[in-house]
Symmetry: C2
Subunit: 229 residues, 2 copies
Amino acid sequence: MTEGRVWRLLFTLLKLAEMGAHRRTAKISTEYLARKLGMSQQTASRHLIELDDRGWISRTITPEGCLIKITDSGVTELKKLYSNLRLLMEAAYPPSVTLEGVVFMGLGEGAYYISKELYRKQFIEKLGFDPYPGTLNLKLTTDYDVKTRSELEAYPAVEIEGFKNENRTFGHVKCYPVIIENKVKGAVISALRSHYGASVIEVIAPVFLRKQLKLKDGHKVKVEVLTLP
Amino acid sequence: MTEGRVWRLLFTLLKLAEMGAHRRTAKISTEYLARKLGMSQQTASRHLIELDDRGWISRTITPEGCLIKITDSGVTELKKLYSNLRLLMEAAYPPSVTLEGVVFMGLGEGAYYISKELYRKQFIEKLGFDPYPGTLNLKLTTDYDVKTRSELEAYPAVEIEGFKNENRTFGHVKCYPVIIENKVKGAVISALRSHYGASVIEVIAPVFLRKQLKLKDGHKVKVEVLTLP
DNA sequence: ATTACTACTAAACGAGTAC
DNA sequence: TGTACTCGTTTAGTAGTAA
């Protein structure tokens, strides 16, 4: 993990780049740098020494000031920061969203729907796993989680098409890939007509979650929703 | 000028954004944030308090952790950093380059060329000023300055077209807009066939620089070359 | 569980100054 | 002019702990 000191140096490196030192050797005195950074000449000098030690800049000291060039390694550091920020600023959705809910016993309907062959085929094809015939029901307890769950609707989802058979119609289903308890990959499914309100989520996975994660009614479970790339 | 403390906070703000707090309210406990940042829970807590004080985040404390949303003002800070970096990473040329040289008496030829009407008209049109009929000659003294000057050739320049009259040919001239001694706008001119080598620059300006800046032979003069947008 | 206070430690900084 | 050392001061960070 990047420690605090590094961040301070990265800032100094950024200023050096603003003076053109990432493209060419720039003549920058410690006194000048200090003024630009709002620090003392001594601190600027030390920062340059440390940047040099890290190999982020190369330095030649002359009587008129330092000749400074940011090295490839230094530019890489700035690029890392840049791409980090770009992803944040340009991404349409947050990288992941976490929901938490309490396990409760459902009506057992989930199993019926999931094992319908025309659904199952699509789960395998579009989610990449053959779902255990049953759903884990989680009751969202806090306002925060309910609000988050409703925001999910605006996210891009894996779309499972509905179908008809001789008796009835099976509706369209939206899936959001998730990781359950940081361990198991699965999906939250969201039927357009749900028996439950917005305060419940139904989770499917390739395994029997209650057994795999030793879950009992009332246990709190964390589900991390992955956004699609 | 942005002081050091702000940068440490901005780093924390960036991490919060990586957790999605710039788009939505995110539930982040101080303990969790601390682990992600490689700091103690207490420090994370203090950072959150300070970010809140600055108005960069809004916070609601619940028994399960803090509900954190980066405010518009906080997002603006991140955007500032982002656009700063983007300019650096994507710009083809450094924002400005500084040259330093020593005043010396030229051959007086400059005046002859500059006052040629077909040159003068172009200076007015393309540089935006009517040049004083004469050039300030600066001898570049250090290797650094000579090297920088030669790099200038690769920059986009204001191009002044050559012409012929009955007697002879007047060559093509490249100009680089500059600011002399942080005070006067002017340009460095670079004839393709120069009487001087790469270690001399000729500066023109709308005023008589020697008088305006009280320059005498041997004085050191700083010239900041502006890159074109 | 949390957050965040107080008291203390560690690190970053700046003044003075040598070179 | 420059850089960069030592050393005292300031500031940031952590541990313990209360709420």
